[in-house]
């Protein structure tokens, strides 16, 4: 029996939530009672639910072979777009909105199947619209 990426993702998700919950619990250990009362109860139930969910995923994998299906189907283009989104924040911090926005538009357009010419056209039109909007409305967008 092979262990698929889908199964690992199914298992990893509740475990990651568990890690978040444990970190959260550590952050409120020294909090006053009023600040701790409500989240404390939630954390206990959440950790329990995540453990049960992870155990259930393992049980289904071993007993019925569930989780081997091709449900997790992010293709290369989608992963690249996700990477572009993640890179957008540090790029804006470094260069402002102007240049990263242009690069983002061009790259994502290409990843969505545009030719170089089409991607360039989309970028120019969108950038002109954005620049016009910022100039006309006085919207405080640091372009560079």
């Amino acid at each position: 029996m092979s262990v698929s990426i889908h199964f690992l993702t199914k298992l990893a998700f509740p475990l990651l939530i568990c890690v978040f919950a444990l970190g959260y619990r550590a952050s409120i250990e020294e909090a006053p009672r009023a600040a701790r009362l409500f989240p404390d109860g939630l954390l206990s139930i959440l950790i329990l639910a995540c453990v049960v969910q992870a155990a259930r995923s393992i049980y289904l994998q071993w007993s019925k072979g569930e989780g081997e299906g091709p449900e997790l189907t992010l293709n290369a283009a989608q992963i690249m777009v996700l990477a572009a989104m993640v890179a957008f924040y540090p790029a804006v911090l470094l260069f402002g909105f102007g240049l990263p926005s242009l690069a983002f538009l061009f790259c994502v357009s290409l990843l969505c199947g545009a030719t170089y010419r089409q991607a360039l056209l989309v970028t120019i039109i969108a950038a002109a619209a954005l620049y016009g909007f910022v100039r006309l409305s006085g919207f405080a967008l640091p372009l560079y």
């Binding site: 952050s27 006053p32 600040a35 409500f38 939630l42 989608q78 989104m85 989309v122 954005l130």
Partner: protein
Amino acid sequence: MFEFSNAVEGLMLLFTWQVMAAITVGFLLGFLVGAVPGFNDSNLMAIMLPLTIYLDPMIAIVGMSSLYFAAQAAGAIPAILINIPGTGGAAATTIEGYPMAQKGQAGYALGLSHGASFVGAAVGALASLMIAPALGLFALRFGPAEMFLLGVFGLTIVGALAGKDLLKAGIAILLGLLVSLVGADPSTAFERGTFGILSLSDGISLMAIILGLFGLPELIDLVKRTSVSGQSEVSDRELNSNLHRGFFDAFKYKGALAVSSAVGLVVGIVPGAGAAISSFVSYGMAKQMSRNPQNYGKGEPEGLVAAECANNATACAAIVPLLTLGLPGSGSTTVMLAALILHGIRPGPQFFAQFQVEAFTIFWSFFVSAILIAVVGCWISRYTRRLVYVRGYILVPTVLLLLFLGAYATKFSTFDLAVVAAFGALGIAMRVLRYPIPAFLLAFILGPILEANYLRATRIGGLDIFIQSGISQFLIVLSVLSLVIPGLWLLRQRRPSLQHG
């Protein structure tokens, strides 16, 4: 106390140019973007939300509700033309709409759907106007314990209906509640769950979460396809000649319209049930009552009328529990709740007492939206249908960039760009692994209210206070039932398949 003069004042407020402009612009945007398959109504509303930030709250809310109705009506366009429902409520429309389009009656089917949508929206608006004041007055009896239990009931309903898996829904809800409590505690200023990140001290931006959870997964899904639709366009001649004929022919199906409106209203007022349920139920009832049930599934106009009328009536009625009890019953009404909160309006028992004139204006605006569906909808369908064939490489990058700018514009914080990306990744994971996203969002919105009311109630009367009043007991029973009934239903569904296996 309900006063007739407030209803009149609300109507007068509707006729100010700003409100009328907001309704019209909201309607046009909703109709244009609602026709693009791949965007469901809640995602569309989430993406449009940043545009309303700088508007007056009243104008913004009226515009958003107009956008919501327009998206419901426009959802039928891709459902009929390419067999992809534009919104969840239009899923039943595909059953008869697409076969009609294949028979060369696309224009006629679009006309029928707009006629039925008009009737559904108008009946829904009238009923909402009459029911909401009574429900609003009743809701004034709610104290902190009742408010807490009402929130719990809302979470159980959305959790139970959002997914087949109650455990996953529970995890989504608990995670949403925890994330809502990140930041400085309001009573003690102690920082909870910030992990030392200074930008999280104020909590996580609701706008960034909405855009990340709803907008990004939808757009990432669109990246797969080079164009939103891969099919050929229908002829202009057929569309133009039959659209108006179809609109007026919809009124011939009086029985289907009456039954579907009633079903749509009842389903809409029940928090948690949505337009998809009402349209399928109405479609099924129309088929059972029909003299020609054998024609269903092959392009029967009556089935199309029933489905479209019901989903628009539900859309109107669903606003009633949202405004009076603060209970959204679907993804789109959850985003509407978020829109209200972003504008400083907290719907719930006090809403109708404090903002009676504004509430009436919102309900009156439903009538204007219904009229716009009839008048503008038919005209604009000729053009919006072209959006069905829009290219992914134009749509995805521009909307993605707008989404990031929208998140930034809320607080002018570049950190929110990272929040959008992070919650986008969470949204994609939740979608792939089938964790209900609306349940997470509702929990995020209700978290601070639940905590505040829980602490207030326990300070007043300990834990006993939660079972003292009749309303509390009723809400506890409802919450338990909302968890048990879907569980039993799922078990019943699984049993035959197990026996079959």
